[in-house]
Symmetry: C2
Subunit: 642 residues, 2 copies
């Protein structure tokens, strides 16, 4: 039985933060401590609010996933329940997104939508706190009969995360109370003396820790630790893709890299960091940091994408990174940001913020269509055949990667994007006792309090990533010196910081300005945005002999729609002796067309496969996040060189 029953509304003076670790180097900003004022992410965040939330709800109503809750409440559940076994979680992720969005803007229409939807959810809760529309009602299989595949605790975890968002942006309401009952039920059922197992899909751990933090319920944190430490001992039994599929092969503390199903691995790791910082468990924290490092070094795409296999949506072995069968599930990108953010808050290590930026621009921004109403589930780096156009009125198979689709049979990604976009600005900066670290560049205003209690305020102006110029104006008087840290991305060798009359070369990492600041002080950061060639390590077999082009945080690509008539994407070879250039806002690379012989047998003792043209053509590249915006297309991130 819980002890903290009194409502606090709103609970969080910062306006609400998705992750609130009680120890660690940095404290994240809340929804009302920072606001985007324009540019790349502001535009996407607005689209998320104006289009994506309603789009997700419309599809889930249309497919009967929301009505599943009504049927449980009305005892009219039938065996032919629509939706896959985990569809409840999509409603929870949408509720979470709505709660953050209400916290961000105070839009009462969003609040009303949240109330109406959460009311239907809460009605479906059983008396003992169990809440799930796929098991235990109307002739369905009994509760917890299929922990490996049933996703019951996974769904509960998302309910808890939705409740955390509501609690921190509004206060205790019916959904929060339902989540508390659900968490109590989980602890009662799976705690010491209960079912000694875990869910096939990690997520409950994340929900339990954060709800535990938000409500001050240590029991929930302890239960999360129990789940984290139970995993890796074969409790779930064999799986066709191996026990690594659900990380039940090796204990979390002992593993050296992420493996198996990517989203599972990442959710589990995010929760493990949460537990580690709550319990000051340095061994656990270091285990996840080690897994992050090895995975980033050997199992991650240039885009930040994770998960190389279609078959199991999983990580491959080291260096298995095919461009054309890249899976790079959008949710794995979201999961990667979740882990990196938690590690960043715990350690302050800039590498985590670097990967977050890469993943934001090249997975998160890639997945969602400009209008916020269609999504990539998988994010390939090489589209060989332009797929058919997808209509806005059909459910797509999840891994079709030729065009963004409005909805999927397995539709975890749209709502995951929705909750991420609603909170995007909270990833842009973090504070500590004596300073503020700007992690992601976007036009924004910040007004927050250092951990020593002093208020600071600043205004960030930039058109990043179109431009690399970022200007920070101090907008509030703050007594005494404090530290402003500017993240210099790993690719930004040659960045310059101008503070007053002083220009300083700033190397990758955090550039620190430690002084007293006065209102009106201006600090300018100039990041080098010239497009650059990027070469893969020879370990990455799949793209040997190829080059990619990046510009700032954006990975670029070549689309067939930009080629001269009659030239095929496969015939292009890049001349890397000519640096990429920019012209009218587009990046150009110099390429030649080669004619590749097509034989009856594509292997030969001779080596005269292609006749190189001497004619150099300028090839206009597109940011990867904007590919397929102009209809079905062939696309390559990695381009063969001359």
């Amino acid at each position: 039985v819980s002890t903290t029953q009194q409502a606090v509304r709103p609970t969080d003076p910062t306006g609400g933060r998705p992750v609130v670790p009680s120890t660690g180097v940095l404290r994240p900003l809340g929804l009302s401590e920072i606001a985007l004022t324009g540019g790349f992410w502001s535009c996407r965040q607005r689209t998320n609010a104006q289009a994506t939330l309603a789009h997700c709800q419309m599809w889930m109503e249309r497919l009967g996933w929301v009505a599943n809750f009504d049927r449980v409440a009305d005892a009219t559940t039938r065996p032919d329940r629509p939706g896959l076994v985990f569809s409840d979680s999509e409603i929870y992720k949408l509720l979470e997104a709505m709660a953050w969005e209400f916290g961000r803007t105070g839009d009462l229409r969003v609040d009303a939508a949240f109330r109406a939807l959460s009311e239907r959810v809460v009605r479906a809760q059983d008396a003992d706190g169990y809440l799930n529309t796929s098991f235990g009602h109307g002739g369905q299989a009994p509760r917890y009969c299929d922990l490996a595949g049933g996703h019951e605790l996974y769904c509960a975890g998302h309910l808890l995360q939705a409740a955390v968002a509501r609690l921190r942006t509004y206060g205790v309401d019916e959904l929060v109370e339902a989540a508390r009952r659900s968490a109590d039920h989980v602890c009662d059922t799976f705690g010491a003396g209960g079912i000694a197992s875990v869910c096939g899909h990690p997520e409950i751990e994340l929900g339990l820790v954060e709800l535990g933090r938000a409500l001050g319920e240590q029991r929930y944190v302890d239960q999360a630790l129990l789940f984290v430490d139970r995993r890796g001992h074969g409790t779930l039994g064999d799986h066709a893709f191996g026990r690594e599929y659900y990380q039940d092969d090796v204990p979390v503390r002992d593993a050296d890299a992420w493996r198996g199903h990517a989203v599972r691995a990442l959710y589990l790791s995010a929760a493990a960091v949460d537990v580690a910082v709550e319990r000051k468990d340095q061994v656990l924290l270091e285990a996840i940091a080690r897994q992050w490092a090895n995975t980033v070094a050997r199992r991650t795409y240039l885009t930040g994408g994770m998960g190389s296999h279609h078959q199991d949506e999983g990580f491959g072995r080291d260096w298995v990174l095919p461009a054309d069968r890249a899976y790079c599930e959008t949710c794995a990108g979201v999961g990667s940001v979740m882990v990196s953010w938690r590690l960043f808050l715990a350690t302050g290590d800039v590498r985590y913020a670097d990967l977050i930026e890469r993943t934001f621009f090249n997975i998160v921004a890639t997945s969602v269509r400009e209008d916020g109403r269609a999504f990539f589930y998988a994010n390939t780096l090489h589209q060989r055949v332009p797929g058919p156009a997808v209509t806005d009125d059909e459910v797509s198979p999840r891994a079709s990667s030729s065009m963004r689709a409005p909805w999927f049979d397995v539709s975890c990604c749209p709502t995951n994007l929705a909750r991420t976009m609603a909170t995007w600005h909270t990833y842009a900066a973090a504070i500590d006792r004596t300073g503020l670290s700007i992690c992601q560049y976007a036009a924004a205003t910040v007004r927050t309090t250092l951990q020593d209690g002093r208020e600071i305020g600043l205004d960030i102006q930039t058109n990043y990533p179109r431009s690399g110029l970022v200007t920070v104006h101090i907008t509030r008087p703050t007594p005494g010196p404090w530290t402003l840290r500017l993240r210099i991305p790993e690719w930004a060798e040659g960045a310059v910081v101008q503070d007053g009359g002083q220009r300083t070369l700033a190397h990758p990492g955090f550039f620190q300005l430690e002084r007293a600041f006065a209102v009106g002080d201006q600090i300018t950061l100039d990041l080098p945005m010239a497009p650059r060639f990027t070469n893969p390590s020879p370990h990455v077999d799949a793209v040997r002999g190829c080059v990619a082009v990046e510009r700032g945080p954006e990975v670029l690509c070549l689309e067939s729609v930009d080629l001269p008539a009659g030239v095929s994407l496969d015939e292009i070879r890049i001349d890397t002796s000519i640096p990429p250039s920019e012209h009218h806002g587009r990046v150009l690379v110099a390429g030649r067309r080669v004619e590749v012989r097509e034989d009856a047998w594509p292997y030969s003792s001779g080596d005269e496969w292609s006749a190189d043209s001497q004619q150099v053509v300028d090839l206009p590249l597109t940011p990867y996040h904007a590919w397929a915006d102009r209809g079905p297309s062939r696309m390559r991130v990695w381009l063969p060189t001359v």
Copy 2:
């Protein structure tokens, strides 16, 4: 109801042939018209007889797959029937292998094993001819309730193929009669006016045509044509991997390349050729020839392996040919041989025999372990991590590719190999009205009759592929001139034929000797067996910048067990300026070790990833078919060049 009820024993004076097209350029040899007398394939054929047949039976008894038939006969079938839904087909493929093996050697123990096993099968047949242990008995789902996934007609097709083998090597027996009842039942149920659909896995078509040919039942051939033409119209409905998974996306006549599940595509195509030659349907024949040509040019591995995807065991798009995630299912190799053989018999085109050789040496011979008791299900071209040793007492997941395994959860490959190996010698040559074409080189004796009735006899001596020397002795007097054709493989530029005192340069294709031959005449073929470098087409993105080494028909590979201590397979670069050599029977290539930097992030603006050593080392290669013979190992077919 069938009209041909009288028994003929044995039916086929040639000793039995797996495929007997009634039209076409060539006639295949029967089991008693050719015999292997030693060497590579003779050894494997003997091992198949002595070990593999009993091994398969032992596993199927042990797992209860054979007893499933007893339980149906005894009406004791229970819902927890062991084995997957298609396990009956494994018993049928084993029966087929046993029948051919009995035909080949007359070994009465094999005949006894066949009788005992087939008796148990026949007892399980329902009164109306339906025979299946997964549906329709003891609380199981009803017959034909799941045509897309149930494999009922697939199983029936294998029953029919087993019966054909028995009919041609022995005569009519109970199994043949059971197959006839089964075929009649299929025609009654799925013929005009019946269920207007097809089976999710093609195979019934193959069984129907061949049984139709063997029994002179045109109705069976017509039903096969009906099935072939029904496919491609969406009858089976959607599939998670697309309708192409079971070739129900495009009619057989309209398709341009193989796609979807590789074994399905290949079985269907083999049957389509059978139907085409029976019905003199040139459009259908040309459709399959076109699909063969496009698939071989763009969707086939150097090994002849087909099927690039693990997820759906399917073909990829053009040029999707990753080495490290190559699927190349063994059964797809068998299926490829089946299609090529039928196209070869129909057209006489040497390209089909070329691909058969490549597939025999590099898929079929690779899959089975030297002792005939363990198998690769998938045949990767790049093993990144040596897997755990597989014990001879456990069932493996099918796609584990690190070691050959004794049995699989889905165990289609062992019995498919068994029936192929038992008939291997029948692929070695074919005859027409005035001559004999030697297609595959092996020490063998041939005694057969030309289509004009003249007898010919010859003795082939060779240690191929160890040596490229093949000597043909004429052993029977044959009146008048006839034509001896020797296949010069596509890789064998520079081959020399010596006939009496005359030496002639023979180019790839069929080399013809048209003359009268006397007993004792000797013709010698000298094939160039020097190892050679093979370069991939630039279209094959996955192996850009790499080279393979081949020697005769064998693809070679480099295994980590052959590297100097402390050198990793990933550090090897081949110096292609130094031709491969042979030393003490092993092929050596010159390589250098490079030290590849391992960074936190495997992509970089700089290009100084590796430091090239100047020290050249000789690297001993292994025939790909022998890889993993010395325990778990890393392995590469495609080796990066300096």
